[in-house]
Amino acid sequence: MTNSMKEFEDSGCIFVIGSNTTETHPIIAGRIMTAKEKGAKLIVADPRNIHLAEFADIVVHHRLGSDVALLNGMMHVIVKNGWHDDKHIEERTEGFSDLEEVLEDYTPKKVEAITGVGCVDIERMAEMYAGNHPAALLYAMGITQHTTGVDNVKSCCNLAMLCGNVGVRSGGVNPLRGQSNVQGACDMGGLPNVFPGYQPVADQTANEKFSNAWGKALPERAGLTLTDMVKGMGDGRIKALCVFGENPKLSDPDSGHLDHVLKKLDFLLVQDLYMTETAADADVFFAGASVAEEDGTYTNTERRCMRGNKAIDPLGKALPDWDIICRLSSAMGYAMDYSCPEEIFDEMTSLTPSYGGMTYERLGINGLQWPCPGKDHPGTPYLHKDNFSRGKGKFHAVKYLDPDEMPDEDYPFFLTTGRMFSHYHTGTMTRVSPHLHSEQKSGYIEVSPKDAGDMMLNDGENVRVLSRRGQIEVPVKITSRVGEGLLFSPFHFRENPINRLTNPAFDPIAKIPEFKVCAVKLEKIAE
C-alpha cells in the first residue's frame, strides 16, 4: 500500500474495487466503517453484492473483468468536467496527454455497454471520487487476478494521480495484501527478477553487491514465475520442485493439469505445517514450525516490518523455516551458518537500502514502515510524498480488453472465485480449527435466485459445474449476492476443488492467472 491503514479513517472518499474487505481484510473494513461514520464517502465496485456494499454511498456491480473500462469511464467524466488536479498533473506526472487521448473513447454510454454500470452511476462515482479529497483507492485480488491484471493496476494508479491522490495522507493506491507476510516475502526478493528491496538481478551494481556478500556469482537473468514453472514441468525442463508453505494442488488454476505435470517431476519436496494435498504427493516432507513456534519478522500490507516472537519451542520434529532452509543449503554444498533470525535480518538490512535503518531493537513493539534508510529515520507512513521512485509519475494509456474466456452458448455462465470469511486459502490451517470449520463445512457455489429458479435448483442441492478444463460437483447456495449469469465459489475446499475449472490464461507481464473470470455451465444432477 502507498498509505497506512489508520489513515483511511481520515479519508474524504474511499473507493473499494475488487476487494471483499469485510470478509478478507476485516480490520481494514473496520477502519472504513469508522471513516464512513466520521463523514467519508464510500464507493464500492464489485461484481458481487458484498457485505461492505451495505454501507456504501454508491454501489455498482460491474461485469467480471471490465475494470479498465469502468475506471477509464470514471476518468473520462472527470476530465470532461475538469475535476482533475491540473497542478498535480503538471508538477508530478508525465504522459497525461496520451491518457487523455485514450479516455476520449470511453464515454459513459460505451462504458455502460461494456460494464453493465449505468451512465448516471459512472458519473456519480467520478464526481464523488474527484470531489472528496483525499480519496483512497483500495483493491485486492479482484483487480489483479486477470489476464489484464497489470492494466487494471495501472488504471487504478491513473485515476489516483489524475485527482492528486498520490503522495498525500489518507489517499493513495492501496493493494490489500492477503497474507501476514506476503509483502515481506516480495520485499525479501521472493520474486524471480529481484534481490531484496526490489534490486534487479539484471542490474550490474546490485548483482555485484549480492555476489560479493554471498561469495558466489549470482545469475543475471531472471528466474521463472510460478506460471512458467508449471510450463517447465510440463515440457521436462524442470525436474525437481521445492514447495514451501503452499498447496498448489488446490490453489493453482486448472489443477487437473497441475496434477498431471507434478507427476512428471523426478523429485518433489514440500515443507508445510500439515500434510496437504500437495504434500501427499511429495518424495520428502519437512514439517515447518507454526507462527507460535518461531522467531522472525513480518512485513504487513502497510509495509510495516514487525517482530514475531515464539511462544513455545517447535513441537515434534518441526523446525523453524529458516533453519530448514539453512540445513538444506548446507547439505547441498553452500554453507549457511546463521545462529538466529536476527543475524539473517542484520545481513538483509545491510544489503537492502529500504530496510537499512531497521534493527530488532528499533522495531520494538510497533515495528517500522519502509522505506527506513537510516538509523534515525522514523519510517514512512505514506509513499511518494515529494517525488516518485522514477521521478515523475507516469500515466499509462490503457485500453480495455476482454477476459481470456467469455461465456458462450456452450458455457453460458461467468464463474468467479475467491474466499469466505471463516477460511483461509486451501483450508490447511482453518479447516483443522473446529470453530472455523464449523462455520462452513463444505464448498458451495453461489447462484442467483433467477438462475436457480430457471434450473429448478434447490438450496443445498449438489450441482455439476463444468468448464473446458474439468468438472466438479458442489452444493448450491441460492443468494442475491450474485446477479443473473454470474456464479461464485470459494476455493478452500478439497471436496469441491473449484480450481479444476479455472482458466490458467495469465497476464503477459505479471504472469498472474485469471482466477477471477472463466466460463462454465451448470448441470442438474439427475436423482
Partner: protein, 268 residues
C-alpha cells in the same frame, strides 16, 4: 519486590495456593501468566498490567480439569464480579479461589484506553445519525421509538464481522455448546450475520450473567455498543427479578431448573 509479590510468594510457599494467575510483560506486551511454586522467582515479574483479560475464565478452564487445585487471581472489581457469577453457576469453587485485589484503573493511569470505565472517543456524525452511540446510557437509548431503535441497532449489528471476539473474551461465557454456533438457531457461513438474531441470542444469554466489564466492546473490531445492549438486558433482569449479576450471591433467576443447568438450548 513489592507487597503484591510478597503476598503471592507467601501464598505459594505456604501452599495456600498452587497457582497464581496474573500478568507478566512478554516482549513488551502484558499477557496473562501462570506463577507457580516451582518457579517462584518468576513472581518478581508479576505486574498489575494496563491491559485486562478475563483471568477468572482461565481459572475456570484450569478448574474444569484440575478441580483440586487452589488458584490465586489478580482481581480488579470486574474480575471479582465475574468470579461471583462463575461461583453462582458452579464453574468455580469459591473455596479454591484466593484473590489479590488491585485498583480498578491503576491510578493515575486513567489514560489507559483499554479500560471500559473510561469514556470512548465521541462517535462520528453518521453513527449519531443512524446508529447507536457507544457512550449512551440505557435510558438515553430508550428515547427512540421502537421502530427507530430497531433500525439503529440493526445498523450496528450489520457491521459485525462474526469474529466471535465478544464471546471469546467474555468471562461469563462458559456454555459447552454455544448457541451462536448452533446452525438450527443461526444461519452460518455468511456475512452480514443473521440480523438481529445473532446478537439478540447472545444478549439473552447475558441476562443475569453480564457483569458489565466491557471487555466485549473493547474486543469488538466493529465498535458495536455491546456493553449498552447487555446493560439494557440486565436492567430488565433487575426490574423483574430484583437480581444483579456479580453482586448478588444468590442463584440467578435463570437457574430455576437446577444448579447445573446452563442456558444452552437442547438440540432441536
Amino acid at each position: 519486590m513489592n507487597m503484591m509479590h510478597e503476598i503471592v510468594k507467601e501464598w505459594l510457599e505456604q501452599e495456600k495456593i498452587d497457582l497464581f494467575i496474573g500478568y507478566k510483560v512478554v516482549d513488551g506486551h502484558p499477557l496473562p501468566c501462570f506463577f507457580t511454586r516451582e518457579n517462584i522467582d518468576d513472581v518478581d515479574n508479576l505486574v498489575e498490567s494496563k491491559a485486562r483479560y478475563p483471568l477468572e475464565k482461565i481459572a475456570a478452564k484450569v478448574y474444569s480439569t484440575h478441580p483440586e487445585m487452589k488458584i490465586g487471581i489478580l482481581a480488579r472489581d470486574c474480575n471479582q464480579r465475574a468470579l461471583n457469577v462463575l461461583y453462582v453457576w458452579n464453574q468455580l469453587d469459591p473455596e479454591k479461589i484466593e484473590t489479590v485485589g488491585i485498583n480498578c484503573c491503576p491510578s493515575p493511569a486513567r489514560e489507559h484506553a483499554d479500560c471500559s470505565y473510561l469514556e470512548r472517543e465521541p462517535s462520528g456524525p453518521l453513527k449519531t445519525l443512524i446508529g447507536i452511540e457507544n457512550n449512551l446510557k440505557p435510558e438515553q437509548a430508550e428515547v427512540y421509538s421502537q421502530e427507530e431503535r430497531f433500525k439503529r441497532w440493526s445498523y450496528e449489528f450489520e457491521k459485525c464481522i462474526k469474529c466471535y471476539g465478544c464471546r471469546n473474551i467474555c468471562p461469563v461465557c462458559f456454555c459447552k455448546e454455544c448457541s451462536l454456533e448452533h446452525s438450527d438457531l443461526i444461519k452460518k457461513g455468511e456475512l452480514p450475520v443473521e440480523i438481529p438474531i445473532f446478537h439478540l441470542v447472545r444478549a439473552v444469554h447475558m441476562a443475569g450473567r453480564c457483569i458489565d466489564c466491557g471487555l466485549c466492546e473493547d474486543a469488538c473490531p466493529a465498535n458495536i455498543p455491546l456493553r449498552l445492549l447487555y446493560r439494557e438486558v440486565n436492567q430488565i433482569t433487575a426490574r423483574l427479578f430484583d437480581y444483579r449479576a456479580g453482586t448478588d450471591s444468590g442463584q440467578s433467576p435463570f437457574s430455576i431448573l437446577g444448579e447445573n443447568v446452563t442456558l444452552e438450548p437442547m438440540s432441536l
